[in-house]
Structures are given as C-alpha cells and as structure tokens.
C-alpha cells in the first residue's frame, strides 16, 4: 500500500496518471450537472413557500459545500506536506486555494441573489451562513497573500501550511461564534430553508448536482496540480521530455 502511495507522490508518475484520471472525473461530472440542472430547473416542482426562486439552491448548495471541502483538502494536504515532506501534496494545497476561493465567491454571490427575493435584501448580516462564508473567503485571501509574498517556493509551502492548519483549527470556532452572534438578534425576515424535509423529486437533482460539482472540482483540481507540478519541476529532465516534442533541442 505504501509503495503505491510513494509512487503516486512522485511528480512524473502523478503527471502521467492524472492525465488518464481527468476524463473520468470530468465527463461523469458534466453529465450529472446536466441531469441535475435540467431536472432541478424544469422538472422539480416549485417550492410551496419560495416558488421558483428556490431553484438557485441547485447551484448555491454545491458551491457552498465545495468551498468548505476545498479548505479541508487544502489543510489536510498542507499538513501531509508539512509532516511527511511530500512536495506533491504542497502542490495540491497551492492548487486548491484559488479554486476554493472561487467556489466561496460563487456561494456568496448565489446566496446574495437568492436573498434578494427571499429577504428583500442583497445582504443579510443576520444570516450566520452568509457571514461565515465571507470570513471563509477572507481566510482564502490571507492564505493566497502569504503564498504570494514569499518568493522561495519551499518556504512559501511550509509557511502557508502552518497558516492553513491554524485556520483549520479556527474554522469550527468561527462558525460557532457566528451562529451565537446571529442568534442574539433574531432577524424576523429570515426564511430558514429546509423546514419540512425535501421531497425526493427536489432532493435527487440536488444530490446529482452536488456529486457533479464535486467531480468537476476534482478534474479542475487535478488540472491545476498538473500545471503546478510542471512549473515547480521546470528544471527537471522529465518535464523537458514531456513539454518538448521528441528529438527537439531545449
């Protein structure tokens, strides 16, 4: 098992393997998103309270879920990189951060658009999830800013890994404190989604989209890690062999 693991962590092997893996993530992901979005937008019944406006859930929830998933991937791979000094896992952390920030932004934007018809406002400070998503976005910004400020890649990897781990310890505390804070001034305008359990004809497209988004996220992440690895190993022979056509001189 460990042999397999070490082989995966070798950049040339990963580069070759990931090229084969990406279509297996991307194609089923797109199919699931197409099915989920079509069924969600046109087939599923309208919500008895929110009407058709609830349908933004099919983008909002997968994005919000991935914004947290990406941070977990980032923090775990940063930790692995820090402890076992696996360079590939630092590359994964570096590649996951901008993706996570984008999904966080997407979740915030769709949440805001959803809030407009539901709460009558683009932004509702009383909603704990909007607020903690915003803090999440700031955490991503801090992580990327620290990475950008350090020129040496090895040092940037380790320093940002420490930050990612400190952030990972803090995220549950942030979520809890924002929940506590918003419970103090109960916004009367807030309509809590959920309530009665979702009927299956609404739930199945949502699950399809969540899985679809996750698979496409995996494909995007693999693609970003590939370019990250190529850049980091740009002085190595195998990169020259991959990038230059056979027989060409560097």
């Amino acid at each position: 098992m460990w042999k397999w693991f070490h082989k995966l962590a070798s950049p040339p092997h990963f580069y070759a393997l990931s090229a084969k893996m990406i279509p297996w993530f991307f194609v089923p992901g797109i199919v699931l998103i197409a099915y989920g979005s079509w069924t969600g937008l046109f087939v599923a019944p309208a919500d008895y309270q929110q009407g058709d406006a609830f349908r933004i859930i099919y983008v909002h929830v997968p994005a919000a879920y991935l914004s947290m998933m990406a941070y977990m991937i980032m923090a775990i791979s940063a930790g692995i990189g820090l402890i076992w000094r696996i360079k590939l896992s630092h590359a994964v952390a570096a590649a996951a951060a901008p993706l996570g920030a984008w999904f966080t932004f997407l979740a915030l934007m769709t949440g805001s658009i959803w809030g407009r018809p539901m709460w009558g406002t683009w932004w509702e400070w009383g909603d704990p999830r909007l607020t903690s998503e915003l803090i999440m976005l700031f955490l991503y910004f801090g992580y990327m800013a620290l990475r950008a400020a350090i020129d040496d890649t090895g040092k940037a990897d380790k320093a940002s890994a420490v930050l990612a781990l400190v952030g990972a310890v803090n995220i549950p505390i942030i979520h809890f404190s924002v929940e506590w804070w918003s419970s103090l001034h109960q916004g009367a305008t807030i309509v809590r989604e959920g309530g009665p359990a979702m009927p299956p004809e609404m739930l199945i497209p949502l699950l399809a989209n969540i899985f679809g988004f996750t698979l496409v996220f995996g494909a995007l992440l693999l693609g970003r890690v590939r370019t990250e690895v190529l850049f980091r190993e740009r002085r190595k022979r195998w990169v020259r062999d991959v990038v230059l056509p056979a027989g060409a001189e560097a």
């Binding site: 801090g142 620290l146 400020a149 420490v162 505390i173």
Partner: protein, 232 residues
C-alpha cells in the same frame, strides 16, 4: 554544544529571561508602549465624530467601537513582535537556545501582552466612560478585553512569526490575523453589549476564557514552527 560550555539555564529561568528582556526593552523605549494606546484612544474618538454625539447612539455603538479599536491597536503593535529581534540577530540566538522554542514563543507572546494588552485593558475604562457605559458594563468590558487581548497576542504571534522578514509585512499580517480574530471580536463586543443592556454575560466570558486557554496551549507550537520556517 561543546563540552566546556556551562550548563544552560533551566526552563523557567530562560522563559522568565525572555519576558524580562522584552519588558525592560519596552520600559527603555516608552514610545512602543504608548503608541498603541494613543492609537486606541484616537480610533475611539473617530466614531463619535463620525456618527454624532447622541447619547443613545454612543451607548449602542460603544462596546463595538472599543473592541474594534482594541483589536486594531493590538494588530498595529504585533508587527514589531519579532522584527527588532530579527534585525539585530537575537532571534537567531533564541532559535539556537537549548530551551524548547514553543516555551520561548510563549514568553514572547506574554511579554507582548504585558506591554500592549495590559495597558490597553487598564486604559479602556476611560474610553468607556465617554461612551456612557455604566460600571457593570465597564467591569465586564475589562474582563473580556483581558481574555481577548491575551488571545490576540498569542494568535498574532503566529502571524508575526510567519511574516517576519517579509516586505509589506504589516498589511499582510492584518490580512492573515483579522479573519482568525473574528470570534474574539464577536464574543468580546457582543458580551459587553449584553452587559450594557443588563443581560446575562456568563456565556461570552466563559467562551473568551476557553479561547484564551486554547490559544495558550496551541499557539506557541504554531509560532515556534513558523519561526523555524521563516528563519531557514
């Protein structure tokens, strides 16, 4: 360590020496202590000037203003936590010392609190009075500020260690530490606001105390790791 060097000082002695040195340095350069305090007072003055002098409004915004000002003042002083040590080489000595680095990092953070956090807690009632807070709210405010500034010094020491020796360090440090410090701000300011309106405050104070304990136990290890990485 070669054999003819004398035995290194004990754990506690080294720890106390780090604190004593930083406090002594601050004593010799009072500006380091006073500047964050002046900043604290001035930021608090900005708000009444910006939002108007009505008593009702000041009472409503007072807890938040005092807490935001305290947070910013602490943040301002954090940049210098390791900077002068980094520049004159004493940070290298700290890294080479036989004492465990997390303990030294804890000493630095505690010294930072003694220099900036503690004066801030002591000065805060003066600001609070101008915001028409009553004595019950002021005592709660001092308690939350005491726990909160200790946590901020510890959390900030991680950020200061990560950014030491980087250009554009101050802005970067704020970007790293502000999102992480939001729980402290939320519980600090909201608890004082609850006290001002006569509600129960135990939950908030307990939370801040618990956060402070967590920071005391975990942050020094992160700071030590960050110092080693920044000084490779």
């Amino acid at each position: 360590m070669s054999t003819h060097t004398p035995a290194p000082p004990g754990l506690f002695k080294g720890f106390a020496a780090v604190i004593r040195r930083d406090v002594l340095l601050a004593w010799k350069r009072p500006g380091d202590v006073l500047n964050p305090l002046f900043f604290f007072a001035m930021v608090s003055t900005l708000f009444p000037l910006a939002v108007g002098p009505s008593t009702e409004q000041l009472q409503l915004s007072g807890p938040g203003v005092v807490w935001v000002a305290a947070l910013l003042a602490t943040l301002l002083s954090l940049n210098s936590l390791f900077l002068s040590d980094f520049e004159d080489g004493s940070l290298d000595q700290l890294l080479l010392s036989p004492q465990p680095l997390p303990l030294m990092a804890l000493g630095k953070a505690i010294a930072h609190w003694l220099i900036t956090g503690l004066p801030l807690v002591l000065v805060s009632p003066l600001i609070a009075v101008t915001f028409q807070m009553d004595s019950a709210a002021i005592s709660v405010m001092m308690a939350t500020l005491a726990f909160g500034t200790v946590s901020l010094s510890l959390l900030g020491s991680v950020g200061a260690a990560l950014t030491v020796g980087l250009h554009r360090g101050t802005a970067l440090l704020s970007l790293l530490i502000l999102p992480l410090s939001m729980p402290i701000l939320i519980f600090g300011a909201r608890t004082v606001a609850l006290a001002a309106s006569g509600d129960a405050v135990a939950a908030g104070v307990y939370f801040l105390a618990a956060y402070c304990m967590l920071a005391l136990t975990l942050a020094p290890f992160a700071t030590a790791a960050a110092l080693r990485i920044s000084n490779e």
